[in-house]
Structures are given as structure tokens and as C-alpha cells.
């Protein structure tokens, strides 16, 4: 009895510590971004919005944002397509080596990004591809595909396919039935995996560093460069902007499918 | 009460879920070695009562005593009350043998004794060589037997079964009913069986408790519950019957005379003249033909025939809310819908209730 109570108390204490440590860097970033001082002192001596103003005037920032968002969006969409098809094949088909296939599809998540980046760079050079945008896209689909495959597969394996057959008896062709019945059920999985995939792509450094060139820099690369050259709270302002964007997305996601679904990572 | 003190004594138990009472002031006394059914529709509170007796749920009021000990505040794992769940709840990560051994291991039983008990219990449910299998390799009926074996392995003082046969198909259910009954009788286990299937309750139990909306309406042997239902609800829930509304025309000694839409009938009982009542009789007591001495008669028109192999049920036209049905043996004369008949039945077999 006492042991059980102590265990529950310990559980909530640890959880509180976890939440605190997870939110600490967020708080720091936000605090620094509104600090009047260019030295990173906490608590900020005075408040100012100068870093946000600076951020808006930063010349290389917006191309990098556009590039990162663009790559993230396009690669996420491509992965949603490829990953869903694969998930359908695994749930509906019978063929040998399913577990191996799934392990393979999810493995890029667990591979060292630097190594994948180097390998991909050398490979693309070999086949003569030099375009940075295309190279980045190719690499980022590799990053995002595992997230989608894993989440959509988990969702599909709980899906009742007799619903599709019911739709077919009511007059839909097979592909149309799949779309009409499965998509609403898979929407939360799409949203969750799409969000994680998008964030993973936006945040990726190790693969991108090898595939960028002077004219195409993604946001994380730009930020690290900026940090090393002239660190000032402008990057904190940039990050706070990203956090705000994510909060909006999370609110929309909650409205659409409920925040609970995000846990099906 | 014959047979001595109650083995299981449920005293004035009540339970609310958010302002709604699920069980109200319920009393139940079960004797040692008895097989009792809790029979009732979904939502009547029978599973809630089961969970309270098992210790998985705390009652808001009342007490539970088992074999002389007050269990009300005792947690489930110390009660020694076994449960067989509707979904069987077999541990997916353990083999069949480990499932059965689970309770014994939890009690720190020595290894040799565990092995011996597991072997014995598996033999009892005729699954002796399935010990090493995964639970997923078993059929529904086999899973059910393992669930029973697992609960019995620790020699519970009381065994609770929550609709354990509902997931099985009909033939299997009938076989399992008898197996279960014999098994529990041989072991002398006191058991309470929750079901919504009245056939099961009547076939298997020593006594049946018919529950409705959190109360026990009748608690008696199957025969009594069937032939002398205490309330219109029990009448309807257990078996079929003719049920007609009527008004008391008069009282004659120990009998009342009731006017119904289909005729005037007499029934043993007491009621005030002019009172609204329900008159009922079981279908097997109804005969087609002119009434003899001591019989009631009703003029009815046949509506449907239901052929069930060894017997046929005749359903008659009746006013809204009423029903009339007679049971004919297979060898009986043929009838057709639309036929006008006289249905006769013993006055002594006629039941009367105050209209709800």
C-alpha cells in the first residue's frame, strides 16, 4: 500500500522534472529573444524587440527559411505517398520478409546522419547530379519516409478492411473505396507523421550539410554558421518564431484530430 | 434459510456512477457449494455487483462477507475470490502453463507443487498437452477452459464468472455449460455466474437471481422462477408467456375474477375490485379446445406459427402491449394463421400481478 503510493509520487515527480527540463530551453530561447542585452544574460536586464526586428532584416535568412520549408513540405508530401503505399502493401499483402521490409523502411531514422549524408553526396556525384535543391530533396525524403511508414503502418494495422469491402458492395470501385474509407481513418496518422516528418526535415543538419552549396543553405546550417560567426540573440528570435509556428500547428492538429493522436509516433 | 449460514453474504450494497444509482440496497446470500446465476439484461448492474464482490470495485455502501470474514475493505489480491472474465483476459506474454501457474507463483508456491497443480488442473479441463503453447494458438473454447483452469488453480473460496460462454457458438456453449457445471460440482466450488442468457441460468444453477435496474427481483430455484415469477419483469425475462391486461371484476374466495379483452379468467390471488392487473400463463400450460372443469378459456385468433422442431408456438392476435402464445407438441393438430381457436388453461396455473 505504502509502496504503491510512494511509486505513484515518484512517477509524478520524475514526470514533473521531465517536463521542466523539456520546457527549459524553450523558456530560455524566448527569454533571450526579448532581451535588450546582446550578451546572453538571464534574466534579461530589460526587454526589447530589437532581435525580432533584426531577424526581419537579415538578408540570407528568408531564402534559407523558404528553402527549408519548401524542402520539408515537398519531401513530407512525397513520403506520405510512398509510405502509405508501402503500409498498404504490408497490411494487405502476403509475401515473405515483411518484418525485414518494415525494419528496412524505418532504419534511416536510426542511421548516423553524417554517414548517410556523405554516402549520398558521393553517390550523387558519381551519377552526375549536382543540383543542390534536388540533392537536398532526395536526402530529405530519406529522412521523412521512416516517420510516415512507421506511423501509418501502426494505424493501418488496426484498420478494419471490411469497411472497404462494404463500400465496394455499395458501388465504389476498389481504388475509390480505399480513398473514401481509408483516408478519413488515416487522417490522424497522416497529420502526426506529417508533423514529425516536417519537423525532422526542418531540423536536419547532418545530411543537409553535405548536400548544400553556397547558394542553397537550409535554416539549421545558416543558424549554426551564424552562431559560430556572430552569436547574438537574433537566432533566439528565429527559433521563437519557429516555436510559435509549431504552437499554431499543434492547435490546429488538436482541433482536427485531438492532441492525443500525436502520441502515435 | 435451510442449509445453514450464508457462505457469501452481500449486505445492503449500493453503488452510484456520477449521481446515477447502478445498484441500490442489494442483498444476496449464497450457500457453500451453491451455483448461483445472476440473470438480467445489459445495464442491470450484474457485472458491477460481480466486480464489487471480487474487490475490483468499491461499493458506496454495504458490506461483503465471505466464509465469516468481512471483505469489504480487503483489496482484490487478498480476497481469494477467483474471476473468469468475459474476454478471458489471458496473459498474452505467457504460455498456457505459465498463465495457469500465475496465481500460484504470485503466492510463492514451491516450484514442484506449481508444476503438479498446473498438470492436474490442465487435465481437469482436458488440455493437458497444451501447456507450452501460446494463448493465441488456442480456439475460443480452449481459451475459455484455460481461463477457468487458471482461476481454479489457486483454489478460490468463491468463483465468479462474467458471461464466460457468450463468445462461443451455440453448440460449443451447450457443451461447455455441462462441462463447467460438472467441474465445479466435482470440486465443490461455490460459484456465481453472470449471464443475460436465461437458458444458461435455468440449466446450470441451483438458484437464479433475476436482476433489473440494480435490484434483485427474485432469487429462487429455476423451477420456481419459471413457474412462479414474482414480478412481471421476471415473467417476461424468463421464458415466454401470455400476458394480458385486465380489470378485476370481483373476488371469489382465494381467487380473483378478471376481465380481459379476450375473455374472463380466474386466477389464485388477491386484488381489490376494479384494480388494473396483468394476467399471465406459460405457453406449455395452454391447450386448444373447450375448457374443462377448473379451466379458463380465451377466444383467440392465430397470428403466427413458429416451428421449433419438437414443438410449435402459436402466437395470437392481442391488443397493443399484450401478448398471447401457446405451445403445441409436434404431433398436435395443424393450425393456420387466421384460425379462430379457444385456448384453455388451468386456473391454478394462471398468474396475476398488479399492473405496473
Amino acid at each position: 500500500m505504502m509502496l504503491e503510493r510512494a511509486a505513484v509520487v515518484a512517477m509524478w515527480t520524475v514526470t514533473a522534472a521531465v517536463v521542466l527540463t523539456l520546457l527549459a530551453p524553450l523558456a530560455v530561447t524566448l527569454a533571450v529573444s526579448v532581451s535588450a542585452s546582446s550578451v546572453f544574460n538571464l534574466p534579461p536586464p530589460a526587454l526589447s524587440s530589437r532581435w525580432y526586428e533584426r531577424m526581419l532584416r537579415l538578408r540570407e535568412l528568408w531564402p534559407a527559411v523558404r528553402l527549408s520549408v519548401g524542402i520539408a513540405a515537398v519531401s513530407t508530401v512525397i513520403s506520405l505517398g510512398l509510405g502509405t503505399l508501402c503500409a498498404i502493401a504490408v497490411t494487405r499483402g502476403t509475401f515473405p520478409g515483411k518484418t525485414a521490409l518494415v525494419t528496412f523502411m524505418v532504419s534511416p531514422l536510426m542511421m548516423p546522419g553524417l554517414v548517410v549524408g556523405v554516402a549520398l553526396l558521393q553517390f550523387l556525384r558519381e551519377i552526375g547530379l549536382r543540383d543542390a535543391y534536388l540533392s537536398l530533396l532526395i536526402g530529405h525524403v530519406v529522412i521523412t519516409l521512416p516517420y510516415v511508414t512507421r506511423t501509418v503502418l501502426a494505424s493501418l494495422s488496426l484498420f478494419d478492411f471490411t469497411l472497404v469491402e462494404a463500400a465496394r458492395t455499395l458501388g465504389c470501385s476498389h481504388p475509390r473505396a480505399l480513398v473514401k474509407v481509408m483516408v478519413p481513418v488515416l487522417a490522424p496518422a497522416f497529420l502526426t507523421s506529417g508533423l514529425f516528418a516536417f519537423l525532422a526535415s526542418m531540423d536536419n543538419y547532418p545530411i543537409s550539410i553535405f548536400l548544400v552549396d553556397a547558394r542553397h543553405k537550409t535554416l539549421p546550417i545558416l543558424m549554426l554558421q551564424y552562431l559560430e560567426e556572430n552569436p547574438d540573440p537574433t537566432i533566439a528570435a528565429i527559433s521563437s518564431g519557429l516555436v510559435l509556428m509549431t504552437i499554431v500547428v499543434l492547435l490546429i492538429a488538436d482541433r482536427l484530430v485531438g492532441l492525443r493522436r500525436l502520441a502515435d509516433f | 434459510m435451510p442449509g445453514g449460514a450464508a457462505y457469501l453474504d452481500v449486505i445492503d450494497v449500493a453503488k452510484w456512477f456520477r449521481e446515477t444509482p447502478v445498484i441500490e440496497g442489494l442483498d444476496l446470500q449464497v450457500r457453500a457449494g451453491e451455483f448461483v446465476s445472476l440473470l438480467g439484461p445489459s445495464g442491470c448492474g450484474k457485472t458491477t455487483l460481480l466486480r464489487i464482490v471480487a474487490g475490483l470495485l468499491a461499493a458506496d455502501r454495504g458490506r461483503v462477507r465471505l466464509d465469516g470474514a468481512d471483505l469489504t475493505r480487503v483489496p482484490a489480491h487478498k480476497r481469494n475470490v477467483g474471476v473468469v472474465f468475459q474476454s478471458y483476459a489471458l496473459f498474452p506474454h505467457l504460455t498456457v502453463a505459465d498463465n495457469v501457474a500465475f496465481g500460484l507463483k504470485a503466492r510463492g508456491t514451491p516450484r514442484a507443487e506449481i508444476d503438479a497443480t498446473v498438470a492436474r488442473v490442465l487435465a481437469l479441463v482436458r488440455l493437458a498437452d497444451h501447456g507450452a503453447r501460446s494463448v493465441f494458438a488456442l480456439s475460443g473454447g480452449q481459451q475459455q477452459r484455460i481461463a477457468v483452469a487458471r482461476a481454479l488453480a489457486v483454489r478460490p473460496k468463491l468463483l465468479l464468472l462474467d458471461e464466460p460462454l457468450s463468445a462461443l457458438d451455440r453448440k460449443l456453449r451447450e457443451t461447455m455449460r455441462m462441462e463447467l457445471q460438472h467441474l465445479l460440482r466435482d470440486l465443490g466450488i461455490t460459484a456465481i455466474f453472470v449471464t443475460h442468457d436465461q437458458d444458461e441460468a435455468l440449466v446450470m444453477s441451483d438458484r437464479v437471481a433475476v436482476m433489473n435496474a440494480g435490484r434483485i427481483e427474485q432469487f429462487d430455484t429455476p423451477a420456481t422462477v419459471y413457474t412462479r415469477p414474482a414480478t412481471p419483469f421476471v415473467l417476461d425475462f424468463v421464458g415466454m408467456s401470455t400476458r394480458l391486461r385486465g380489470t378485476v371484476a370481483g373476488v371469489d374466495g382465494n381467487e380473483v375474477v378478471v376481465d380481459t379483452a379476450a375473455g374472463r379468467v380466474r386466477a389464485p390471488g388477491r386484488a381489490a375490485p376494479g384494480a388494473a392487473v396483468l394476467v399471465a400463463v406459460r405457453p406449455e400450460n395452454v391447450r386448444l379446445g373447450a375448457p374443462r372443469n377448473g379451466e379458463n378459456a380465451l377466444e383467440l385468433k392465430v397470428r403466427d406459427l413458429v416451428f421449433l422442431g419438437s414443438k410449435t408456438f402459436l402466437h395470437f392476435h392481442a391488443p397493443d402491449g399484450d401478448q398471447a402464445v401457446a405451445e403445441l407438441p409436434a404431433s398436435g393438430e395443424r393450425r393456420a394463421p387466421g384460425d379462430q381457436v379457444t385456448a384453455s388453461f388451468d386456473v391454478g396455473a394462471t398468474l396475476v400481478y398488479p399492473a405496473p
Binding site: V14, V28, T29, M110, G113, L114, D203 | V81, V83, A106
Partner: protein, 294 residues
């Protein structure tokens, strides 16, 4: 599962000759995705592996011999695995209870906890690592808390130490431990715990014999994710440790990005790859052992 014969499930644009028993059209849907990864992911890695054993047109293991003969290499590998192991362990110890708390929480609290887990992922590893450099300073929040709680007498040096690195990395990788465990915890059938209780199992016994085994697939997934991410991390050690702490990733980055000599980088890449593949294979095998087979 499906009662329709294979020919009925053929998509209109995938008309094939009458399917053989084993090959169904629907299985081919996996081809685009798997094929893509085979080309863009597996092939480049295979080439990298091959290139590492070929020098001047002849197969050789010279690169590996040099690498493994150098005690510095062993230090680097030890650093890599040790820090990854520590990070994974702390994430597991902290993340396991948190996953349960998440499952027990209801409504608004659960949503808030989930948001707390997902939101930090949006900050970006660069800025997060940078925020930790601020937090870990001698006059930073962490030190102030430690002194305030009485855990230490004077501010401890955390920046540019392995402890600081572990702390920062744990912070970044925690969600990847909590979420897989949570997704398994919430699937546990509460009736199994009821059944265990009625069989005489105390709460402690129930936890160790029922709950814990059932959460193992999630634990394995979480450990695999966090360990492989920790082994591969680059930005976090770069910002929190600079050049002082050499891990395989740092070595690889320096070799390819800043130095002329690629051979060290290639060899280190293959070593890191081997570690990652070992994690993947081990987790797949362990999951099969712990997953109740259907």
C-alpha cells in the same frame, strides 16, 4: 483475412496476368517506397562500404588496420558508445515513469503533457543546444538550482564537460523514449491487471510480471531510437563540447568538411554504420522475442 480472390483486389492500373499464389498486386505497392530507399539510401551506403575496402583499385583493409591500431580511435569509439549508453540509460529511467504518467493523465493534463513533449522538437537542435550552453553556465539556471537545493557547495563546471553534454542530449532525445513507451502503455488491457489481482497478485507483483513485460516492445523501440540517435549526434557535442570531446561523428565531420584526408572519415563512417546496424538488428530480434506472437 480478405475473402475476395486475389484477382478482385487488382488495381485498375496494375493489370497483370493471372496472379500466382504468392505474388499479389497489392504487394507491389511497396515497391516505390522500398525501391526509393534502396536507391537513395542503401545503395550509397553500400558504395561507401565498398569504397572503404578499396584503395587504388585493389581490395584492402589497410584503412581499418591503421584506424584500429591507433589508440586514439579506440578512445573515440569508447567516448561515442559510453556517452550514448549513459544518455540512453538516463532517458530510460526518466522516460519510463513519464510514459506512465502520460497514460494516466486525462483530458487537459494529457494534452498539455503531450504538447510539452512535441513542442521542443520544433525548436531545432541548433538552438536547443545553444540554449543549453546558456543554462549550463556557471551562473546559469542549472548551477543556481543545484546550489540552491544544497546539492553542491559551489557552482559546478558543466559547460564543455561530458556531464553537460549528457544533460543536453537527454533533453533533446527524451521525447523519442517517452512516446514509443507511451504508445505501448496505453494499449495494455486493464482487465489483465484485474485478472492478475484476482489471482492473488499484489500491485508490485503485477507491475513486474504483467505491466513490465507488456511494455518491453515500446522500451526496446525507445532504447533503439535514443541509442542510435545518441551515437550519431553531431550538433549537440559540437556546441556543448567543442573540440574537446571526440566522438565518431565529430571525427567524420572534421575529416570530410575540414580536412583533406578522407580515409579516416571513411573508416570512421563504416564503424559508426556498423554500430547503428547492430542496434537495428538487435532491436528487431529483441522485439520479436518480446512481442506476444499473433
Amino acid at each position: 483475412m480478405s475473402t475476395a480472390p486475389a484477382s478482385l483486389s487488382a488495381r485498375a492500373d496494375l493489370v497483370l496476368a493471372p496472379p500466382r499464389r504468392r505474388l499479389q498486386p497489392v504487394a507491389l505497392l511497396a515497391l516505390p517506397g522500398a525501391g526509393y530507399l534502396a536507391l537513395a539510401f542503401a545503395a550509397p551506403l553500400a558504395l561507401l562500404l565498398m569504397a572503404s575496402v578499396i584503395s587504388e583499385g585493389r581490395p584492402t583493409l589497410a584503412g581499418y588496420r591503421t584506424f584500429l591500431a591507433d589508440s586514439f580511435s579506440w578512445t573515440v569509439m569508447a567516448n561515442t558508445i559510453r556517452s550514448a549508453g549513459l544518455i540512453t540509460l538516463i532517458c530510460l529511467v526518466a522516460g519510463y515513469p513519464a510514459a506512465f504518467a502520460l497514460a494516466r493523465a486525462a483530458g487537459l493534463l494529457q494534452a498539455a503533457l503531450l504538447a510539452a513533449l512535441v513542442l521542443p522538437l520544433s525548436v531545432g537542435v541548433v538552438v536547443k543546444a545553444f540554449a543549453w550552453t546558456i543554462l549550463l553556465r556557471s551562473d546559469g539556471v542549472v548551477n543556481r538550482a543545484l546550489v540552491g537545493l544544497g546539492a553542491v557547495d559551489a557552482p559546478v563546471r558543466l559547460l564543455f564537460t561530458e556531464s553537460g553534454l549528457v544533460l543536453g542530449a537527454v533533453n533533446v532525445f527524451l521525447p523519442f523514449m517517452v512516446l514509443p513507451i507511451f504508445s505501448v502503455v496505453k494499449l495494455i488491457d486493464p482487465r489483465l491487471l484485474d485478472a492478475a489481482a484476482t489471482l492473488g497478485s499484489s500491485p508490485l507483483h503485477r507491475f513486474f510480471r504483467v505491466t513490465l513485460p507488456l511494455t518491453m516492445p515500446g522500451v526496446i523501440a525507445g532504447v533503439a531510437f535514443v541509442f542510435s540517435m545518441s551515437v550519431s549526434m553531431y550538433v549537440i557535442p559540437t556546441l556543448l563540447m567543442g573540440d574537446r570531446f571526440k566522438t565518431l561523428s565529430v571525427l567524420i565531420a572534421r575529416s570530410f568538411l575540414f580536412m583533406r584526408d578522407r580515409s579516416v572519415g571513411s573508416t570512421a563512417s563504416v564503424m559508426l554504420l556498423l554500430i547503428a546496424v547492430a542496434v537495428v538488428v538487435a532491436s528487431a530480434l529483441l522485439t520479436r522475442r518480446w512481442q506476444p506472437s499473433r
